[in-house]
Point group: none
Chain length 241, copies 2
DNA sequence: TCAAGTTGTCTATTATCATAGACAACTTGA
DNA sequence: TCAAGTTGTCTATGATAATAGACAACTTGA
């Protein structure tokens, strides 16, 4: 590690570039703990404060994340999440070489609000099953999702989901062989307390809010949902043209 | 010209890099005058002193040369000077698209020292012709050279050189159809006052000192010489392998 | 000879860079 | 529960970077 002084490039920048190179070429794997600040300072022969400046620059760009008392970690690469008409969480995560998981948080029945009824083609007040779930890639929570289905069409959906842990499999259980995404709206907001806990996300961090409705091959609404994605863990890919 | 502040790269460095790019891609031709410091400061939107810092860095590396009261000029590219067994100044300079010139400074007779005699295969004290010459590419002095030849074998060499201004032609005048470089030694030192004047070189600047002996096709020594090259105007290319 | 334009040098001020040390706050594993 | 190790924060000091203005020294062309 030979740094050049008075070359017009600040030492902290040279250190930051060095660490970034290490991340890029895999010497520091995603999720892995970096050497301690003192050790980095040692190897580059600079002051610990200079290393902190370098790490702060990398953290600003989301490449690393410091955890007080524990260490500084290489941020997992963002999950590339294509927004297509055929959107399957398990397929997207699996395509990235990671293991998809789903988990039931809560299931209950409630009457349809006017908006939910319109989305699902039902009457206001019609009985709905509400399923709250969290979805993970490997061990990292990606999003929490609130799903509404007709309780008449999908009786006992909550219990089924608890077993199959996948919306695709749940629908298949009720004879739905294929479905597609009918509409998608994306906004963003600050995470609320309960989602923060479920996503293992710090308070004040942004989440991407995706409202969508899936329909069967005849265009008949099956499920409408609101998913909240940890913004720092995904990037949505929108097909252009 | 958009420079980034607090990016860890000093402004003067960004300006210097920009100018160097301009030289590299030909926007500023060799020998050409750069825009004035105030104008450069204007286009990069920095202080004139910052520009001066950038130009100083470039001058340090020999890329530009400032002339007080006149301007700052792009230094002529260094002359690529291959060190081969067949070394002809005029051919090397001509290959670079520049016009070679030679000029006699002084010619005199003197007895051979022990070292000169050994190099030329003569006895110590044998009469030698000493020819001092300067060689230029276009109007730029490249090197001054002191040449020693046997006065017996090459009588009146000084007068001949004054006319032909080329060692190759001088030897041809005495019936030498071909010759080659037998040995070459390269060292470096600081220019002395008389060479500085002849090379139009500032005092304290380095010169490359090349000691060499040319021999005819039979290996018989013809001329031994010590040439001093303005280090900032040439780069020697050594054939490897 | 002179005016305009150029580089060189000086002083001064403010912000950033880099180092140094001390201690707080926190996590981890024994 | 505790010790060791980690990141976070504070103060302090000197060097470098960048800005600003003024004027000297010099070149060039009219």
């Amino acid at each position: 590690m030979s740094l050049q002084e008075s070359s017009g490039v600040a030492l902290w920048r040279q250190v930051a570039d060095g660490i970034e190179r290490g991340i890029a070429d895999g010497r520091f794997a995603a999720g892995e703990k970096l050497p301690g600040e003192i050790e980095i300072a040692d190897t580059y022969r600079v002051n610990r404060h200079t290393v902190r400046r370098a790490l702060a620059a990398l953290a600003e760009r989301g490449l690393v994340r410091a955890e007080r008392g524990s260490g500084t970690y290489v941020e997992a690469q963002r999950l590339a999440y294509p927004l297509r008409s055929r959107t399957r969480f398990s397929e997207i995560v699996g395509a990235g070489g990671r293991e998809p998981r789903g988990q039931l948080i809560d299931a209950s029945e409630e009457p349809a609000t006017r908006e939910l009824a319109r989305e699902l083609g039902l009457k206001t007040g019609a009985p709905l099953v509400r399923i709250e779930s969290v979805r993970l890639a490997d061990r990292t929570p990606i999003c929490v999702s609130t799903n509404w289905l007709s309780a008449d069409r999908f009786p006992g959906a909550g219990a089924v989901f608890a077993n199959v842990r996948s919306m695709t499999k749940l629908l298949a259980h009720y004879g739905v062989r294929d479905y597609r995404r009918a509409s998608t709206r994306v906004t963003a907001t600050i995470v609320d307390a309960s989602d923060a806990a479920r996503l293992d996300l710090a308070l004040g961090r942004p989440v991407l809010v995706v409202d969508s409705t899936d329909v069967d091959t005849d265009g008949k609404p099956l499920v409408t949902k609101r998913a909240r994605f940890a913004a720092e863990r995904v990037e949505f890919l929108v097909e252009n043209g």
